[in-house]
Assembly symmetry: C2
Homo-oligomer: 558 residues x 2
Amino acid sequence: MSMKTDIEIAREANKIHIRDVAAKLDIPEAELRQYGHDKAKLSQDFINSIQSKPDGKLVLVTAISPTPAGEGKTTTSVGLNDGLNRIGKKSVVCLREPSLGPCFGMKGGAAGGGKAQVIPMEDINLHFTGDFHAISAAHNLLSALIDNHINWGNELGIDVRRIAWRRVVDMNDRALRHIVASMGGLGNGYPRETGFDITVASEIMAIFCLAKDFDDLQVRLGNIIVGYTRDKAAIRAKDLNADGAMTVLLKDAFMPNLVQTLENNPAFIHGGPFANIAHGCNSVIATKTALKLADYVVTEAGFGADLGAEKFFDIKCRKAGLSPEAVVIVATVRALKMHGGVAKDALSTENVDAVKKGAENLVRHIGNVKKFGVPVVVGINHFIADTEAEIDAVKAIASEQGVKAITCKHWALGSEGTADLATEVVRVIEGENAQFAPLYPDDMPLLDKVKTIATSLYGASDVAADSKVRSQLKEWEAAGFGHLPVCIAKTQYSFSTDAKLMGAPTGHVIPVREVRLSAGAEFVVVVCGEIMTMPGLPRVPAANHIKLDTQGQIEGLF
Amino acid sequence: MSMKTDIEIAREANKIHIRDVAAKLDIPEAELRQYGHDKAKLSQDFINSIQSKPDGKLVLVTAISPTPAGEGKTTTSVGLNDGLNRIGKKSVVCLREPSLGPCFGMKGGAAGGGKAQVIPMEDINLHFTGDFHAISAAHNLLSALIDNHINWGNELGIDVRRIAWRRVVDMNDRALRHIVASMGGLGNGYPRETGFDITVASEIMAIFCLAKDFDDLQVRLGNIIVGYTRDKAAIRAKDLNADGAMTVLLKDAFMPNLVQTLENNPAFIHGGPFANIAHGCNSVIATKTALKLADYVVTEAGFGADLGAEKFFDIKCRKAGLSPEAVVIVATVRALKMHGGVAKDALSTENVDAVKKGAENLVRHIGNVKKFGVPVVVGINHFIADTEAEIDAVKAIASEQGVKAITCKHWALGSEGTADLATEVVRVIEGENAQFAPLYPDDMPLLDKVKTIATSLYGASDVAADSKVRSQLKEWEAAGFGHLPVCIAKTQYSFSTDAKLMGAPTGHVIPVREVRLSAGAEFVVVVCGEIMTMPGLPRVPAANHIKLDTQGQIEGLF
């Protein structure tokens, strides 16, 4: 097993020119908008030209409830894609773009790991092709237009106390969470409280990832509710004539980004909405384009299956008309042991009982995914300390649920380690007939949608919402927003709203703290607990150690 | 004469692939980092590889004091480059990158006009290759690190009342000029007053444009003074360990951008610092790289020659060791008439007397440029209503100053209209021996530098500075900053600080309002009048009318 770091492995990759990656999907070089030799966007004309092609098979990679031990969802997605290509299938992986700001907080990076990575990882983790910068600019243009409108007379009668639209920056900057703006006198407008979120939390990021085409993008941007009048009438971005210019700012960003895995297989990396106040999946346009170009498309969704897969199904697939044909739930022996009560520093000791106990979390997720009518495969992301007995325990438990658990060694071996998983995924798709359906119908009342998710998937006994929340939801239903899906924002660490309640809790109540209408993204955010939309930096930020080395390579980022 | 709009002309251009533009400068395709088919960055390795080549001849295009009638400095720079290529010279034009924010205020664009444009103009005016976004990110990372350091205990003892580093956004957003940040309680840090500037006003933009290489870039970034302790000891970016990560964020941006003119001649567009609180020229790395690749390099500097050319000479050329060989001063008959007292709506009527009177502005600029030891050519940027008698008057006045004034018709005719100008520029370079020297020596006291500029170039009798300013300059001299050049920030419309005083005023006093130390950019900003570092949007912003048309092309931007 390689003891090299991810970045060392990535730099040793036998990277091919992006035109040769594109050629694997029959994309002509002229249809690429290259960004250097190793990144490209696909032209809108090309995307339009392939619409009559049949769709490939869509596979979602999701995971058990995350623990500090890690699961490796992105890594497994990349590994499965390499595995599918290895067994002769034409496959593409579709991933989210990572956010810039957090790179300067904790050492990290979100481009897979070991021998299952997408490259160029430095670029992907930094500015990449500029998509997030374009989203920030579109967001902040709308912000500037709101205050400008008020400054010049406020013809629309925007109530400055009821402005819902903040500003964004792709940086972890806690000082901007809550500010007083327009200070300093007459020329600077009317002082008011507001703040900044990190760019991935922008509703524009969610819209960008759900829009089908430019027309849909502009309509959704126009529908953003930026605030209300004193009479609580909604003011939308289109009332400020902002939608056209915002769409123009997103013109290039909206084209999907093509890169490659370490094994030179194609990967689309496009869009990256927050997985709590948004739906946490890459762009619809990337996924749909990939489906036209490959026989298999592997994608992932943020957090565990309770949040990520549910939103993938109920928001993205429902709205984009996608029908996933298989789901891989990633688990690790280490994480199952944590769910079974083992402390982080004791994870390297064999503990079959803890694996079995913790597997109740896995079992719940398997059952949940099946409720959407999609067959499941469990991927055991192998760690060196895992024992045969522990792995067998996971396999046996999966088997009781009627699904196969396959050991994956992509981190150490690349596609050689995921050929079995790929084979099982293909078998399941060809042998079992997925009958995907969302969990709840469009016309269910909003609070009932929350209850359905909480009771069917989270094991909760009920949902608690005070009268303010209930009447807000009723108002939105009366205003024609009742048909929207709900987007639950809760801790990813538990089926409950208590992050410490691991495993598979039952009988708990899900308290709804607040609801937010994303009228452009077309969902209602249901906030169940603290959510942070602007992270801070730690005491010793990673930025302290990031620099160019004497060869001009980036040091300290990973 | 074409009555097409700039954007119509640009869209009809016979654009060639950027690799073919690069081939004209013998840049191998492998050394390009393509951004689509029509933009590319040059690799740092390639730049390193050409350092032993001889330098071409550097030509500055500057102008008379600007008026609402317009002069066409960028257009003439592009036209001269096309003209030089037309007469068989290998020439490149080096321009500044335009700022995104102002595009949403006034309809505009900064990529030339008529048949003298650089393309793709939409991209150049919007995100281009992402350089400004990278500069914003580097700037705001430092901002976040300052407040983060204070939040975690403020080990360096930064006085929160003495923080000099603000935040930036590339958007005209007056609401952010003056804010109170870190509101909202314990988790968000210590509340304090601060604000945002537009990205082009960032000291990082100036540093980016003056740095010779990555090492110099990192040193300068580290030297930025972000604030002071209670004892007025300077805190620098390097004290926060921010310089490495900031350099990493600028890694790709620092490579010069190659595009083409409408006539397929090469153009570098790289960097774009404010021409008031900074020096207003494109990057040193682009200019120096161009000099290694071509026989002639045409470049421009912001505002009129009193600000633009002076800073180009005294800051950029002095610091980068550049020796310009000729200067073109752009004038228009219309603008000279405005300097001669004609109102904007009467400019189309022949008025030779007003031309002669207004030409005192041109005469002052000619004399000023000669003080730097560089020969001058006047470029009369031709407008359709100009009469023979008016043009002859300009030529006669130039001739009295010992320089030729050449009529240029690049707007209507492209290079056919600038062949004469190009021929004269070549003649002057070959015939007259430029003996470039900055206006003042490094070791002159800071206030004397200001006085030298004011009395030699502005026609002022003196400089007024109160004791606070004087003692601040003395303090900086004692701290070792006395050798820095000064960067005057005053109105561009007059040699005085009164924007309405056109022509060539004398005997006025230049009041110094404030001084600022740009320790990373390595100059002292001398503020003489109001300077706005965050513009606002007008009552009806251009954004209202910007959108994609049915063909997916941008409408309303120009």
